[in-house]
Symmetry: D2
Subunit: 445 residues, 4 copies
Amino acid sequence: MTEPNIGAEDLEIARLDFSIDRVGEPTLPSPLRDVPFVDDGGRVCYFHDTGRILALREAGLPIPGFVQAGPREKIYFDPKWTRAAIVTCGGLCPGLNDVIKGVVNTLWYTYGIDKIFGIRYGYRGLEPRYGLEPVVLDPDVVDTIHEDGGTILGSSRGNQDVESMVNTLDRLGIHVLFAIGGDGTQRGAGEIARKVKERGLRLVVVGIPKTIDNDLNFTERTFGFETAVGASSPVIGCAHQEAKGAWNGVGLVKLMGRDSGFIAASATLVNSVVNFCLVPEVPFPLEGERGFLPALARRLERKHHAVVVVAEGAGQDLLTAGTRGKDASGNLLHEDIGVFLRDEIGRYLKARGVEHSTKYFDPSYLIRSVPAQGTDPIFCLHLAQNAVHAALAGFSNLVVGYWHGEFTYIPIPLAIRSRRKIRPEEQLWQSVLTATRQENWLADL
Amino acid sequence: MTEPNIGAEDLEIARLDFSIDRVGEPTLPSPLRDVPFVDDGGRVCYFHDTGRILALREAGLPIPGFVQAGPREKIYFDPKWTRAAIVTCGGLCPGLNDVIKGVVNTLWYTYGIDKIFGIRYGYRGLEPRYGLEPVVLDPDVVDTIHEDGGTILGSSRGNQDVESMVNTLDRLGIHVLFAIGGDGTQRGAGEIARKVKERGLRLVVVGIPKTIDNDLNFTERTFGFETAVGASSPVIGCAHQEAKGAWNGVGLVKLMGRDSGFIAASATLVNSVVNFCLVPEVPFPLEGERGFLPALARRLERKHHAVVVVAEGAGQDLLTAGTRGKDASGNLLHEDIGVFLRDEIGRYLKARGVEHSTKYFDPSYLIRSVPAQGTDPIFCLHLAQNAVHAALAGFSNLVVGYWHGEFTYIPIPLAIRSRRKIRPEEQLWQSVLTATRQENWLADL
Amino acid sequence: MTEPNIGAEDLEIARLDFSIDRVGEPTLPSPLRDVPFVDDGGRVCYFHDTGRILALREAGLPIPGFVQAGPREKIYFDPKWTRAAIVTCGGLCPGLNDVIKGVVNTLWYTYGIDKIFGIRYGYRGLEPRYGLEPVVLDPDVVDTIHEDGGTILGSSRGNQDVESMVNTLDRLGIHVLFAIGGDGTQRGAGEIARKVKERGLRLVVVGIPKTIDNDLNFTERTFGFETAVGASSPVIGCAHQEAKGAWNGVGLVKLMGRDSGFIAASATLVNSVVNFCLVPEVPFPLEGERGFLPALARRLERKHHAVVVVAEGAGQDLLTAGTRGKDASGNLLHEDIGVFLRDEIGRYLKARGVEHSTKYFDPSYLIRSVPAQGTDPIFCLHLAQNAVHAALAGFSNLVVGYWHGEFTYIPIPLAIRSRRKIRPEEQLWQSVLTATRQENWLADL
Amino acid sequence: MTEPNIGAEDLEIARLDFSIDRVGEPTLPSPLRDVPFVDDGGRVCYFHDTGRILALREAGLPIPGFVQAGPREKIYFDPKWTRAAIVTCGGLCPGLNDVIKGVVNTLWYTYGIDKIFGIRYGYRGLEPRYGLEPVVLDPDVVDTIHEDGGTILGSSRGNQDVESMVNTLDRLGIHVLFAIGGDGTQRGAGEIARKVKERGLRLVVVGIPKTIDNDLNFTERTFGFETAVGASSPVIGCAHQEAKGAWNGVGLVKLMGRDSGFIAASATLVNSVVNFCLVPEVPFPLEGERGFLPALARRLERKHHAVVVVAEGAGQDLLTAGTRGKDASGNLLHEDIGVFLRDEIGRYLKARGVEHSTKYFDPSYLIRSVPAQGTDPIFCLHLAQNAVHAALAGFSNLVVGYWHGEFTYIPIPLAIRSRRKIRPEEQLWQSVLTATRQENWLADL
């Protein structure tokens, strides 16, 4: 008999430090007294810094806990003088504009801050040599931006020189920087926070984690993920029709998921016409008795069509195995698992004289650029509100998280120390195995 | 300073009984050994009956806990001989077919049960005088039903005679009944379970709660809610266009929510063009200094259009106040808050000589009959799986719940003792106040 | 043997006058020479006033023809001095913003006109006592308005005093008025045109017909119709699910179509789950051997569910027959065929002891307020371009039409003399009969 | 002054032969007498073989005309004994299942034919060596297939041996073959018709043209085109967001259109955020003063983002120019204009030191596999009905066309002699030039 959910990983969690940096002791009364944050007794509601969200699901261990997100009774920055900036970094993700709108409206209406700037094109906009002036943001500017995908601020990949970025922030007189972005962005945000602390500047950095793959550690949900799963479903439906429409038709869909297969696995369960779901967490052999290609061939022989979903980070061991050699520059010929599988399927079936037709779908840009759907806009708003609450209270070097139904504040170093991954022994992956009836490759390896 | 989240309600929770009925002691080894439910060490994963999910968010109190949902190591029913039935009751809800499909596939593939029956048209199908034969269900029958809204089994409102229903179940030789439905349905399921126990029949009843309003107690999410919120958003968008298209145009949208305003509040946050959101939890005066109608008139004077969202259960005190008298039969002339508000708006503005045009939207049937979207299909599947796990383990008189990110088993009497409601002091409603900038009526009352 | 398509109606058409008013002889060379309207020989393309579009489908008759739409070699107004205005009237229709955008861009880019005004809230905006100033329009203002339903200008129903409207136009110095609206709007446009002619003003009025019902005479397609048909299809799907979900469930959908049933008939063919389609052109008896209610009861007995689509103008004879009496004010108790049918179905079935459940859908506001879809935006653009070409050439008192695949100019008196209706003997209605298998009531009556 | 629309092409049309083959003289009275195809006088409506649809838009030329589609008073085949078959060939296209359903229902309900077979996987299903048995079709089988994209029959590319296919049809006793497919399919259908005639078999072949590109000659509309244009619009919207989201972002979308750019041009007008639209009919230089790449660079310098739509058949001269050489096998390195442009844009901008980011979209499979939308399902039904009418009347070797608002019968040799193309001097392309403000390359060349 196994004892699920308590193991080395949980013991390690028990030893982590969940406390949050703060730029200084808050002394100002919160202006929330003046806006309608009241309980049914008419009293204003605040959250305590000592409130903790359990980071472990089981009692019996020393219990570490996240700092609870929410408005504090005392704040650090004086709204009348506070200047805030927002930056969006990395690839597009549904909900970016919702988060921007939420931050602007919460700063403006809840705290009465009216100096809000949008940094253009990611961290690039903090690097003076690009000459990109910030734009001014207010509730009118952001009124309907949630109806569009993308980000009104523009974005870019990669960090810029920290010293240079801090100089720009200082020159612009920014007290509060909201950094919306992924792993790398938050690493950059953490470096800015540390540099700022070194210099003794009165500036906090609050991250809002953006990973469409939903693979941030210590966070059960990230914005855009629900929308991405929903938007993947019709693509799989199209792949199914293309597969059924041809003799031995194969519909092959590559979905997002560089390190974690949450989108691929979830999309497989949402539109359960998928016969094979391949994710980074579960390596699979290409050939051999329990290999993917022979299993696909057996499926075609039986049903004459098949649908395959593959996360972009799946099967990386096959690619580095270099089965197809390198090009003149020494690059591996195949770096894209989707294209690689399409070619391998063709090669394998052709060698066995199986007439077939593979249709390859690479819809990532079509999924990540749509507006937030379902309940994602609400999630974005709540992230934004809690980010603003953290910043005003003087917290820094943190991202807003979500754990067991509650919003939390996570120290940036904790949030980026590793990625959240599918646990194959849990319900999500077990359901994928049942839905697809595919091989349980993990049992082998 | 307030201390949120610990109060009389939580203390009451601490005294509740969360234990689950069981028809007998399970003695059979689970067939899950033969299907791929394994952890990464190759061992099969089971859940412990002693596992508990915290029902309170704060430590410091004696901690009650829900029974954790999931497969058990020992099961009670022998799959080779088990006969299962599924019934859907009450109004349509997105995801009904997903749940049916999930139950059938889990029974069939995970436990090897191949005697599965669908009861037609709700509990009516268990009442012999209607002559409704059950339909046979298997994975082929349910293969693509998740693509459609509605329920393939049909539904009906209301309970039938318990004695008579138990007789039918006994005659059909059913061991396991899955009852998918709301409050009333689960009350009926509880009665069946008690009657069965009285008679000493070898039959368990497992409920899967269906409330599009998301108002089941001790459950943070119910299936169909996310889809309903998503489907409400374009309706609000249409109301906005109609409002802006006319001089003093008012777009009035009635959304579902008999006792709780979760859909109305969430839809307001998703499509934040709403100026007034009215829910059952927050009574509002119609006229007077802080009344809804004067506030609406002021909005029109300023912007010449307005969007109003009202939950069907909002303002019931206004209706029973009987401002418009009763008809010959003694019925109140207005029972529908949407129609009532439409008429009151017209009356009020006309009396003040304000030319205007109110467009009334009543989209409930259009929202509840669509297929499950976003991540709802996954949630339906997981509910179905955990319902089957409970039934096979011999549990009865329970519904499957969801609490702090985990699936739970809730005794039916607990689940139906009261409805979950919006807590106006928490983030959801506070965000609505900020988004709409409407009066905080609660502060008055 | 019948001779379809040549009859009294066609002979009447042969006697009509299709010539178009003109405010004066055009003498200016068209600036189109400077923009890229060229054929593949590099020559600029113009259309001849003598070009005619056949108004009859058969030869052998003296052939009248519509004036062909398109740019003319010579224009009447000097773009440098021309001031144009746009007004949208009546109910919303998908594509209004596309037409506005198309008119603005064609005036601006194709003819170089930069004085363009938007009249607010329909003809009301031309009546000084409302104090509504026109808004200035240019390509930036209209850049993304096609993404939204509704009309950015606002709209209103009804005409205003002609004298007063002409005074306003004169005061604003408008040379070209584009009137986007239905029957009544074009009647008003015609009156403005005549009054202007009387007074000898240098002002042309060009109508762009807006009827979501697609019932304009001498025009085979109006903008928004395709979108409306497409948007009706999911509503019918929801009605189908609601019908199947209940014992003897009836899904009753009222669609737009005051005088003509094109939307109801087309939507029935697009989503062919409809069992009864009721339109104004085909009267039907409510009871009796071939009546609608007995036929519905037979359908329920056989299948236990039914879907009914009714155009809002269908069965008006039943309403005026006053089967349910009048209220105190002498108004007929039922004026809405949808509500009437819902009640009659209930009454009829209840009287026969048939348990049933009718779900009523009234989605008109949800359909007419969506953005234009499919190829409607292109159609809107081409209407707008041809309206501008007509105005610049000095034509007045006309609407832009579409006939046998070509755009035409129709004198307003011709366009509004009667409405286009379904010809029951032609393919559209015959297909409805085949798709629904309903009674051919016409054969009786 | 130019004289548009009368030229060498029209004179050539005047000399074409529009008459239709017939397998024999029809002698049977049509059973339509028994179904409800009646005019308002109660008489059955038929169409005359001598009815003609004008193939030219201008009078003054000898007028050739298409044979008018529709039911005939006398039919050739006796429905009681008639055996029909349907085959779908080539790539997927929205509406395939609608056409299949329409043919089956018209055969069954309108003519009373109950021997209907579906050929599996295109012409491959008529080649015995594949061992593919036909499936039996009836109204129940096709009841809900219109809700899905794809084709329930499967499809394949390419023709099979004509002799062998005719043998199969003869062996199956088929009298009527409906061939749904493109150019090549209709060429095959024509060969079958000729072979059948040679052998004196009592078998007619009626084609229903399938070209998502809308490029069939003598037909103004083909099924699926409207849906494809509608489905392209959100893709262009995503490309716009991706372009705006990055510094010098380029959204490059390849759309369908091997020989004709109707989809690319129409989609550009529907979602008018496109800056460059490239189609096969209008060659463009890559570099040089008026080249595409310098124009793109200028656009980026001005706005820092751009959207480019390219039809798959555009710029073929650039590919064959072999700017990038050939591979070992002698194949040109770039055969895909989308990939070619993506690489050329990168090369050109990089060489000039312009930081940029190009996102490439290739959505063809996602567009062609969706269900028919808007009014496409009605068009599919009417095509199907007219195909059945033609077949029953004994016509053969034809496809159903659509000309000036009427359905027609076109001899297969006429239909496939050349493709319909955009006429750049007409409204569609001129509107694209205005909407994009791109170079009028044609004026140069």
